[in-house]
Symmetry: C2
Subunit: 225 residues, 2 copies
Amino acid sequence: MRIGELSNRSGVPVPTIKFYVREGLLPAGKLTSPNQASYDSGHERRLRLIRALLDVGGLSLAAIGDVLRAVEDPAQPVHKVLGVAAKRLTPPQRDEPGPESEDAREEVAALLKRRGWRAEAHGPAGESLAEVIVALRRAGHGGFVELLDDYAAAAEPVARADLDYVGRRVAREDLVESVVVGTVLGEAMFGALRRLAQADASARMYDGDGAGPGGDGAEPRGAEG
Amino acid sequence: MRIGELSNRSGVPVPTIKFYVREGLLPAGKLTSPNQASYDSGHERRLRLIRALLDVGGLSLAAIGDVLRAVEDPAQPVHKVLGVAAKRLTPPQRDEPGPESEDAREEVAALLKRRGWRAEAHGPAGESLAEVIVALRRAGHGGFVELLDDYAAAAEPVARADLDYVGRRVAREDLVESVVVGTVLGEAMFGALRRLAQADASARMYDGDGAGPGGDGAEPRGAEG
DNA sequence: CGCTATCCGATAGCGGAACTATCTATGATG
DNA sequence: CATCATAGATAGTTCCGCTATCGGATAGCG
């Protein structure tokens, strides 16, 4: 297919497709003549993946580029690709280290030990956890950190489900892509579910189980949607 | 204190503080003379909150402004503030609705029913869940949607923990702020934990159960290709 | 009283991200 | 043959989150 059709199918404007090619996010079409290139379903799929990671996953184009290149590189072990995805999922920190960071890092390490997790406390995920802890404390909500273990307990079955989904893949590239999609879009999915579950818990708490003081009283209907 | 000290304490440059004031994120200092204003610990706290939501939570300044104004408005019921936070947590969608969105929305409604959640299927959280589902399908990973129930099950205890934390607050503004912080920073916290748990699960799966170091960071000895 | 550091408030500029517009040359298509 | 889409290149645009600079006023010190 030509670029116009690719644009129609994917909903991405032609100039944007060209831009993505320039940025190395999308392989160029196969030139059939000096001013004509043909694109296939692989391009379409890639384009949809880019948009998903961009719009829903919230990754930057630079991050997407890194991830996609890692996915395509057969020399990259799976967990390294995941590492790239994880690193680029969170914006770069801008704090200087400081002693509070040290404390937070130790807490992360202690948590890993407590739960017997085989993960590097100083990898990207551990670092971003430490950053969150620091940020919570600095914002005056250090108490929230007490929920760490509850959160960690909930994260285990989620991670198992992720890996289970991934485990059904056969081809390496499929597998790696699944990991990335699962990590990035799964985060968005869980976030939305969590907010729904919060709404439910909040409705029960503030409306009571059928009526109640409600705290504020501007609730037209407590349930359903 | 004067602006210089506020800057030193919070680590935010003076021009940036002024900028935040201009943007309505931070109340202006109390003028003691035409060119002198004094700031208090409330300003400092607010500043730390802004930075936490910005750096770790990934909210935009505009979103933070909306949230903070909602927090400060005593007329806003708690769940509305949460709604603002939830809405601004996810970037605005840019898809036209289409039939796939309709399917996804129905799936969300069905999920809520299945789990007996009292939440609005068409509120911001429900909408973003539907968007994630659409994005997964469009990216060719519709299978991931099968994990919805596993994810939802894990989200329940997390939401309970959140509400439990929030429930310990007394003053309304404290309470609302806790909800926001919990929602926004909690998401980052869970995301990091999930990636750690994935690293653990992945290490067990790919390295075998007693082999070497797992994790997603730098692998000293090449585990594979 | 003078001196300098700081401050307020306002305006303008900057750098990065993600496009978007325009242009030329060339070949595809009816 | 005329029109149209395309490749490839360069330049421009919009938004965001600051950052720099400036004019005037004041603080506080000797």
